[in-house]
């Protein structure tokens, strides 16, 4: 797009259309997301007392500003709470291994599923199943239904029961190739099932991205004598690189925000039975800050490499 010097009224027209189109979203965003977020930030800074009376303009809550650092919810979260810091470190560590694994795996599967073969629709549907199974209802039902948890165990068993993995591990370990170096690899292999189960949406995002690549490009490349390997790296990869960014963000968020994540579990616990609103808000905000920082750095690096088709 030629962006030298736009006439002034074009800029203005752009601005008007821009705001017009985006205003419904912005209104919803401000009212239902930003405002509650600000409110919860205030909670994180104060001592929240639940009061029944609505007299003094309160709505069931009274917030007292905490002034000293030692008493603040943030200080309590990091230095008093026995679990918070450990759980935070643990979940960031497993994130560092799982997220790249999920992205690579789902990209690979998406490439396979994008090929033409018989029964493709059916196979795609199968790969979408984990998304449904890991969804809210099933997770919600688990609380009430011991059967579901029994089922989960079975899945875990059958998933990890691949004897190939175990035998491969013993072979590699006995041959004396550095155990430490291979540890993350084994972790991934052991977690193949976790990875596979968590990749449903990512596969769909990648397939959608692959669908937007025009086939005529491959034809042209083939006529020019491009091998399949070359056309993958020169055409497919750059054109879906923006989807890698999407998937990175989605996977990280999904991993860190899912209800069975340890930190989330703790935050929820603080709200629900323990009624520590201030503390839980402080935990949520510091968690949010850390996640945002991690993602910000990662996506800044990746978005430099992302190629947009002009």
């Amino acid at each position: 797009m030629a962006k030298k010097r736009k006439p002034r009224n074009l800029r203005r027209r752009n601005a008007i259309t821009g705001y017009l189109f985006i205003s419904p979203f912005i209104i919803g965003f401000l009212v239902f997301l930003v405002k509650p977020m600000i409110e919860s930030f205030r909670m994180s800074l104060s001592k929240v007392i639940i009061a029944a009376s609505q007299k003094e303009g309160g709505n069931g809550f009274i917030m007292e500003r905490i002034t000293t650092w030692k008493e603040s919810n943030y200080y309590r979260a990091f230095f008093y709470d026995p679990d918070y810091k450990n759980r935070l470190v643990d979940s960031l560590k497993s994130m560092a291994i799982q997220v790249p694994a999920i992205i690579v795996f789902s990209f690979f599967i998406a490439l396979l599923l994008n090929q033409e073969f018989k029964g493709r629709g059916f196979v795609r549907a199968i790969f979408f199943l984990p998304v449904i199974l890991s969804s809210g209802v099933i997770v919600g039902l688990e609380y009430n239904n011991t059967l579901m948890s029994g089922m989960k165990d079975i899945i875990a068993e059958s998933g990890e029961g691949f004897s190939i993995t175990a035998s491969l591990e013993t072979i590699l370990r006995t041959t004396g190739i550095g155990g430490k170096i291979l540890d993350p690899v084994f972790k991934i292999i052991e977690g193949v099932y976790d990875v596979a189960i968590a990749s449903g949406i990512q596969i769909i995002i990648f397939i959608s991205g692959l669908q937007t690549v025009s086939t005529s490009m491959y034809e042209a490349a083939k006529i020019e004598g491009c091998t399949a390997w070359e056309s993958f790296w020169k055409i497919t990869f750059p054109l879906v690189s923006s989807m890698i960014l999407v998937n990175l963000v989605y996977t990280t968020v999904d991993f860190l925000m899912r209800t069975d994540n340890q930190v989330m579990d703790l935050i929820t616990l603080k709200v629900n039975p323990q009624m520590e609103y201030g503390l839980s808000a402080a935990m949520a905000w510091s968690y949010f800050a850390i996640v945002a920082a991690v993602l910000g750095i990662l996506s800044a690096i990746i978005s430099k490499k992302v190629y947009y088709y002009e």
Binding site: F21, L112, N145, G150, T268, A284
Partner: protein
């Protein structure tokens, strides 16, 4: 195994390669399918088999008793069960359609227009994706209370329309649309709304699929019991979770519930997969 015949083989790939692809897909496919197969079988297992340990994946003596139990329980409920179903379908349909429209509109201008504050806005929206929704429940309740939306359809539907993840997804897809396509339409005299509905939207159909799946998934499964008290406005997941809360005696019905809840998201997926993903053409520009 006999010859695997493909509709159109990718050029430059041997039969061995095809076989490899199939083997990998079958391997992972089986892995992915086990939970589903088990879920389906659970629904048909008689009670004694449900509590057998270790559990079997396949069912030995299938029975429809679980469904009969479920229907009996449904029939006894105070509010007719169809009401719960209507509520859920209504909320899911409106919420999904609205989110698709609003997110696409926002994403379109963020991707294709240069307007003051646009970039900052997008940065803000992406950051908000990372926020833990659980803690905002209480403040959100206060917002609803002020608006008078507690115990109405508004509470589950309206906030769902402005989900940042949907906008983020759509924007990433729209970034990939060539600007020359829009310029061509503009030169031909298309209005902004026309460009949006006739050119941009049809070209990002694969993104619809993802967004629809996201939204349906979220809304269909949402019990929404936090903001809604009237029994007539409650949703299917809530009603069904009440069924499973009955403990051991209702374990069979509970297994049937699991199957019941899965049908719609799977149906939506299959429908949109064949209708949306497959119709995608190229970017429409010939260089």
């Amino acid at each position: 195994m006999k010859k695997i015949r493909l509709k159109r083989r990718q050029p430059g790939r041997s039969r061995g390669g095809d076989l490899g692809v199939y083997i990998i897909l079958i391997l992972f496919g089986v892995m992915f399918a086990i939970p589903l197969v088990m879920q389906i079988c659970q629904a048909f297992k008689p009670l004694d088999e449900l509590y057998k340990f270790p559990q079997t994946i396949l069912v030995r003596n299938p029975t429809t008793g679980n469904f009969k139990d479920l229907f009996v329980i449904m029939g006894q409920s105070w509010v007719p069960f169809s009401r719960y179903i209507f509520n859920t379908v209504f909320i899911t349909a409106i919420g999904t359609a609205g989110r698709l429209l609003i997110a696409s509109m926002g994403a379109y201008v963020l991707a294709k227009y240069d307007f003051p504050g646009g970039r900052k806005l997008f940065a803000m929206i992406t950051t908000a994706i990372m926020f833990n929704g659980y803690v905002t429940q209480i403040p959100l309740y206060l917002v609803f209370a002020k608006l008078g939306w507690i115990d109405t359809y508004m509470a589950p539907i309206i906030p769902a329309l402005a989900a940042p993840m949907g906008l983020f997804l759509m924007k990433q897809f729209m970034d990939g649309l060539p600007d020359s396509l829009l310029e061509a339409a503009r030169i031909d005299g298309a209005k902004e709304w026309g460009i949006f509905t006739k050119i941009v939207m049809p070209n990002v159909k694969p993104a619809w699929l993802t967004l629809i799946i996201f939204a349906v998934q979220e809304l269909w499964n949402n019990a929404q019991s936090t903001y809604i008290y009237s029994e007539e406005l409650k949703t299917l997941p809530y009603a069904l979770s009440q069924v499973t809360a009955g403990g051991v005696a209702r374990a069979g019905a509970g297994a049937a519930v699991g199957l019941f809840m899965m049908i719609v998201p799977i149906g939506i997926f299959i429908f949109s997969e064949s209708n949306i993903l497959e119709t995608m053409a190229s970017s429409g520009i010939k260089e």
